[in-house]
Symmetry: C2
Subunit: 371 residues, 2 copies
């Protein structure tokens, strides 16, 4: 495979040099930054995440800051979920939709202050979208990218590590809530969140010059629990049903198709972008839905990071949007975005690059007994 | 340097396999696609471009299509240049600005039909921006990404190659104008354009399934002129003053700062995005301007694809936004985005990674006598 050039528009996170020192062997471009993808041994990273604790450079998870008198109004019109009762210190997972109800991004919206929100985004230019909406509607709000870089601590031992580092108060944080902290003069916001289902925290570093210090301090604090480097892990996140916007959605995917309906509030004000379309889709029922796919055979396939056709009797019924070897099921699994008339238990075939592999539709999260 | 992962969100152009076969050795992500960056011998590629003819996979130069009754109105409100007199078959280089007058992208706007435009874009999500503007203003226009992939033929011999391939009528095309063609059943639009100052054409392939056929046909047609693979070439484009949006601009750069003022029409309607800000900036004069920088010393430096501070007497006066070895000047050169009070002929210093290198400000395009 030819090399990808590391060029000027791919920025490095404050943790970059530490990830290199830890042996980061591959990166992907994400929000015009370099996101570490792995440290040479995917199974060891999976075991560390699911059985111990891992630290992740997710600095590429950029923050879009909305600040000004109309910040809360802008956050609300961007997000198809009721934010009116959110308080400072609370985060909410939201779908940002376009005017047709298709998902543009699925950030956590953090209420930083009465006049300030952060949208902690997946890989698309939410800042551009927010600036356009704010300006077109004449809102008094500044949209910017602050100096904020999350470092995730994930895994069953993550709470012990972060409590040892910051204090036992973090044990009382509710999911997606956050508080301020300082370690060795390093300013942080500490949130209970992260892109795994193993539990953990994200340390939002708010001084990019201190990235390597923070990495070292977390590593030292986690040493008693054998903390090690990691990154968002396809096997774990697909087993547990976490969506990858961009990976598992196309440009016409609405929240109801990919199990995000419970994060949509249809009674938000009419000026929320996409809400009319979402009400209609909700009433009519979405055309597609997302189910699991378990493939037959126990040979691990190379990472399926492209979409593959899902067939029934030779006819395409949808796409397998991401596939991966599941260490838990010891099968190749993936998300199926298939017509709403296809159901759990149905037999399907997936057209991989070189062969058609039989499989079946399952519920999400994946369970060993579904294989 | 660690490897960058080639993941699902980086699409391949229809010419990808041909570029691999030709020896493409590095790619950059560009509009979520893989753009070939080089074929192992930069000087040979420079010579081929400036003395012969080269063919470039610029499929990553995506088209944002505006189609519908309000397509021309949308094109106009997006572009701070008068498009009212453009006719079908004409392209115009335009700055797309935000409401503060900062450049979001600098595409060629091609009038495809009375109700259809293409914006042939640099590396930012113009489609997202255009969709937002259209929806917020209630315009009747569909914004989409059509199946269009440009293949550039560039260099002093490019006209002979394209005329041999398509017909002598292409010799009469004016700059940025285009016409329809078909080769071996492959549908194209042929434009006199391309991101070099060596002259040439871009063949807009409108059937992605025929990319490898088109590559082979162009290669065969160009064989008498020793055509070979190439790509946008930093040395050539900087010597000749071609702007790289994204490379040479930050998020606060307005057209007047980077020599694009002549492409701005201040008398466009008031609903054109950014025009009020641009009128004010034009009246007051921009705070920065773009000049050339020639560094002392004739040791080629590695590609400077990041911004470096430009100093006078130890005080920062701006940035060198891109630097490269110039084969023509046999010096390291770059664009300087510096305070408007600094002038051609001034001595400056540039803070590279490891040393401060003296240089001077020059006019653009660069001339051998300026070194």
């Amino acid at each position: 495979m030819p090399e990808l050039g590391i060029h000027s528009q791919l920025r490095r996170s404050p943790f970059y040099e530490a990830t290199i020192a830890e042996g980061a062997s591959a990166f992907i471009p994400y929000n015009e930054m370099l996101l570490p993808l792995g440290y040479t041994d995917p199974e060891a990273e999976y075991r560390r995440l699911t059985e111990g604790v891992a630290m992740w450079d997710v600095g590429a998870e950029r923050q879009v800051q909305l600040r000004g008198p109309d910040a809360s109004e802008l956050a609300q019109v961007l997000a198809a979920r009721d934010l009116s009762k959110a308080v400072v210190g609370q985060g909410k997972y939201v779908a940002l939709c376009d005017h047709a109800g298709s998902i543009l991004n699925d950030p956590i919206a953090l209420k930083i202050d009465d006049d300030c929100w952060w949208l902690s985004i997946a890989n698309s230019d939410v800042g551009l979208w927010a600036r356009c909406v704010a300006a077109e509607r004449g809102m008094q709000v500044e949209v910017s990218e602050p100096d904020v870089s999350p470092l995730a601590v994930q895994g069953p031992d993550a709470e012990d590590v972060v409590a040892a580092l910051i204090g036992d108060w973090v044990r009382d944080l509710r999911y997606f809530w956050f508080g301020d902290a300082e370690i060795d003069g390093i300013p942080l916001k500490v949130a209970r969140s992260g892109w795994s289902k193993q539990g953990g925290f994200e340390l939002y570093l708010t001084d990019g010059s201190r990235g390597l210090d923070l990495w070292r301090i977390v590593k030292e604090a986690g040493a008693p629990w054998d903390i090690g480097p990691g990154n968002p892990t396809p096997s774990e996140r697909i087993e547990n049903g976490l969506l990858s916007w961009g990976g598992d959605c196309d440009r016409q995917t609405n929240p109801f198709e990919v199990r995000l309906g419970r994060f949509v509030d249809l009674d938000v004000p009419d000026d929320v972008i996409g809400i009319q379309a979402l009400r209609r889709i909700s009433a009519e029922g979405p055309a597609r839905h997302q189910l699991g796919i378990v493939l037959e055979g126990d040979d691990p396939r190379p990472g399926h990071s492209v979409w593959f056709d899902v067939l029934v009797d030779g006819t395409k019924i949808g796409d397998m949007t991401n596939g991966t070897w599941s260490y838990k099921l010891e099968r190749n699994i993936g998300f199926g975005l298939v017509g709403a008339n296809h159901q759990i238990g149905d037999s399907v075939q997936v057209q991989l690059d070189d062969e058609i592999v039989p499989g079946k539709l399952t519920d999400i999260p994946f369970r060993v007994e579904d294989r």
